[in-house]
Symmetry: D2
Subunit: 314 residues, 4 copies
Amino acid sequence: MHAIGVDIGGTKIAVGVVDEAGTILAKVRRETVADDVAGIDRAIADACTELAKEFEVGAIGLAAAGFVSPDRRAVQFAPNIAWREYPLAERIEGLIDLDVPVVVENDANAAGWAEFRFGAARAATDMLMLTVGTGLGGAIVVDRELVRGKWGVAAEVGHMRVVPGGHYCGCGHEGCWEQYASGTALVRDAKQAAIAQPARAARLLELAGGDVANLEGPHVTRAAQEGDPLAVELLATLGRWIGEGSASVAALLDPELIVIGGGVGAAGDLLLLPVRKAYEAQLSALGHRPVAQIELAEHGNEAGIIGAADLARR
Amino acid sequence: MHAIGVDIGGTKIAVGVVDEAGTILAKVRRETVADDVAGIDRAIADACTELAKEFEVGAIGLAAAGFVSPDRRAVQFAPNIAWREYPLAERIEGLIDLDVPVVVENDANAAGWAEFRFGAARAATDMLMLTVGTGLGGAIVVDRELVRGKWGVAAEVGHMRVVPGGHYCGCGHEGCWEQYASGTALVRDAKQAAIAQPARAARLLELAGGDVANLEGPHVTRAAQEGDPLAVELLATLGRWIGEGSASVAALLDPELIVIGGGVGAAGDLLLLPVRKAYEAQLSALGHRPVAQIELAEHGNEAGIIGAADLARR
Amino acid sequence: MHAIGVDIGGTKIAVGVVDEAGTILAKVRRETVADDVAGIDRAIADACTELAKEFEVGAIGLAAAGFVSPDRRAVQFAPNIAWREYPLAERIEGLIDLDVPVVVENDANAAGWAEFRFGAARAATDMLMLTVGTGLGGAIVVDRELVRGKWGVAAEVGHMRVVPGGHYCGCGHEGCWEQYASGTALVRDAKQAAIAQPARAARLLELAGGDVANLEGPHVTRAAQEGDPLAVELLATLGRWIGEGSASVAALLDPELIVIGGGVGAAGDLLLLPVRKAYEAQLSALGHRPVAQIELAEHGNEAGIIGAADLARR
Amino acid sequence: MHAIGVDIGGTKIAVGVVDEAGTILAKVRRETVADDVAGIDRAIADACTELAKEFEVGAIGLAAAGFVSPDRRAVQFAPNIAWREYPLAERIEGLIDLDVPVVVENDANAAGWAEFRFGAARAATDMLMLTVGTGLGGAIVVDRELVRGKWGVAAEVGHMRVVPGGHYCGCGHEGCWEQYASGTALVRDAKQAAIAQPARAARLLELAGGDVANLEGPHVTRAAQEGDPLAVELLATLGRWIGEGSASVAALLDPELIVIGGGVGAAGDLLLLPVRKAYEAQLSALGHRPVAQIELAEHGNEAGIIGAADLARR
């Protein structure tokens, strides 16, 4: 059975038809406005209707950044779209002339599910997926089932506390993992280094066009690939936090595979090797179980579509 | 169907027949020697045989402190008994004349399962159980299923890291949760306070018979119940660490109920109120989901028997 | 001998004649522009000349926020005024027709010296002064002498690290004391609490006119004085960090008195009691030495003038 | 003027005549028993009398591990000798027939003073000395004067807190610097690594004769010199903590030179390079002042004698 997956961003929507092997057969996009909730509904419905003309689809899955109700029907809260206790599935059903189930999934969960079913974790039964981007998103699969939690808010891995009294987080707490293990943290640390040790940050500053305010993650990756010691250190620090935090998760969940998604994957081994080293160094029960593999995600931006579609079929 | 549950300690074994409501119908004990692995096998078999004469039983569950293989047949490693890759279930089956399945479960998992099925969490679907004793044990239930992990080593919650560079742990790492949230930590903190602030520790010292080396957890609880400010603070600190760590777990798993077991429960609200306060203060997505309840375990020492028996039926 | 003290801020200059008892006999002010270095020079010279007509003065002391050269002649760097390796004393000497020595002192050192000579620490020989404001400034007196350090940069107490991996600091590092023990930290923590626990922050929000962005330190102090639990906690947390950090300083310097300056002093015992409690709880060698007294500063905004004048006489 | 310096250990006393250039002209030793306070007095007096027959001496300085009264006459408390409010100088004066001043100094202060006057810091005016041994001792020189503090307990640098909630310390607190920056910490970390990552610790284990309990600091140094990655890492971690803590001290005191004493100096650049790197990386006001030099101590075990003798002359 084919299914439609919808990846809903703040300013654009990507919609695809996905077959049972996880392949996207067709894809369309729509531009949206984050505040225009009704407009987003219409854009989704319109895109689904368009695709449903060409393909027979049996389900629609909507991937949304936000807290999703445990019955997979509503978005309780979204940081970037004006959804508050919003019955998204019902609204879309009301706008389309298709008699198929519509479900809502958290976008990180959808992306993780795509990796679990059709990507880096396809052979695994227990997986931790980390999406290292602006924040640190995650998805958890335990014994082949996605962990959604009692109220649909599981796998908010970025808010596991890793440093008491640590970096302030947008959530109102301190020391959240995503303040150490995200692209944002990488850039922030690079900017701090440029203040504290300007001489060491010369190459980074150059890549940022001379203004540290313009520094971005890809500058760090590029400098590290050139061998710049500070940039290599910054990626190693990011990797260490990813690995150490993952070891804490492993103490709870004993996964066999950890998948790293997000733009920082472009750094390749400059990131992955420190992740693996820190994970092994911090792993409890080392020697009494294998060390989980840590791999890059295989699906990039399309993971949300693929995962949402597949979850809708279940 | 009745089942037998066996709680295997280092020096004694408690064995009971458990009905489907979680009630122990009969119970026997055996003394053992931790190094005598064959003797432990015989004691288990002997006790099971004795009980099976009186009750028709359909399964036997063995609760063991250690890493249990994912197929529930062997103990990979135990800290207090000389089991190494030990095929415990097979050995017991070879010694008893009963044609029933024998399974091995981690003791903390068994205790947690007892609370989930027949105790404080009987109405829940998603639970975190914490056993606050010498160390910090745990059990995790996600969507009504016990989480065992890929290699049977899940729910080692005590080794989630809560302080980078923190207290040394027997596992070889630093900052493990159980070094802050255990009876051992409570006593250690009390002893440290007696060194750093002897005047404030006068009552604790008195209860310990004048020698700080003799200080034990119940002294702290008693002093706190009398209103001793230092003791109240020590329990509040323990409670804070339990609550804050639980909030980190909640970021991952979104449980609806957290059950606190172990001897520290005797402190009642002197412990529970700080746990709840810290949990709520650190909980992510507060306001977008209910705050999980935090309750004391209902089954004390018998939880292992009850849980092991019930898990053996499944 | 009378001396002139000049307190140079980014937008205004306060100048006073100070007698040997630390009393300000006359005072004038000038408005300035932070970028106009020459204008600041002229304003200082003008004010000094005006006062010198009325009073016989023997020295001029300039208190500047910034790094001062060890010979007390130049400002090496200032965060808020465009001084870079700026020969401030020489410039002022060139603009005034007075044959008196002109010296430059760090403003926090000047304020601390005022407390040491004529304020809360007048009876002490070894003092730590902490100015808890936007940042955390300090002054150290060891055996009756101001500690300036080899390169004039001592007593930058706000940049002692108190939390590895802690709050980002404007200096480019993490976990600096001033990120925990300053008015800025107080407000930041209050704002975080308003995000993480909005219900508990209701009174603070109300005092801020309904918009958390408008929240300021005095709102926290006022709410705490009313008994608001969150506000009391926030001040206690600030106090705890001040006290614990001071205990670290005491391990190095063994002061007899710690003076707390800055606007947070308005909170009185709501701040001071937690400071004292934390200091005593963290003090090493407790029982082998007296516990240093911790008192509020006696000179408010005029401390810079008084201290700079007195230091110029020496 | 020659002076006698006495270095009082728990089980032996080393006594030397020191000239004004810091050279030891003659030296004798005595065995003692830590509990026999009167016996220690007699041994000191006896050795001093013996040396005074051959050399004309003008003062006697006693270096003692413990808290020394600010008037340099008594030991308030000693961890290893049964001195409590003990009038050591008076006792020695009563036992010798020499009309010279006798003063008591803390042993770490004495050793630091030897480096300041005649060793690695002879050209400096502002120095931090760190003695990295069983614990972390220190001495502070500000503007050519030894900092003793109001009650004689300054420079207890090892008890500056570097990690909130960190390693337990014998002083009753947590996270003291000496729990991270001492030979004891190095060995403890090595032993932890042998538990957590036995494969990586193979060479260390071999050097310890196969029993991790026998592991000592020189094993780590030797393995690191051979290139063993874990041992190199352990020394680098020790160095990082020394350097980072020193940067915190530098925020307070702005020293021009940091001297590292103690047995770990044998590791040479394997230790020193990480110390320097971490110091520079954490130093506040970098770019606005030179980076303090960090050098090994020049006087080994004799530093106490030399420093005590020289301080007695002052």
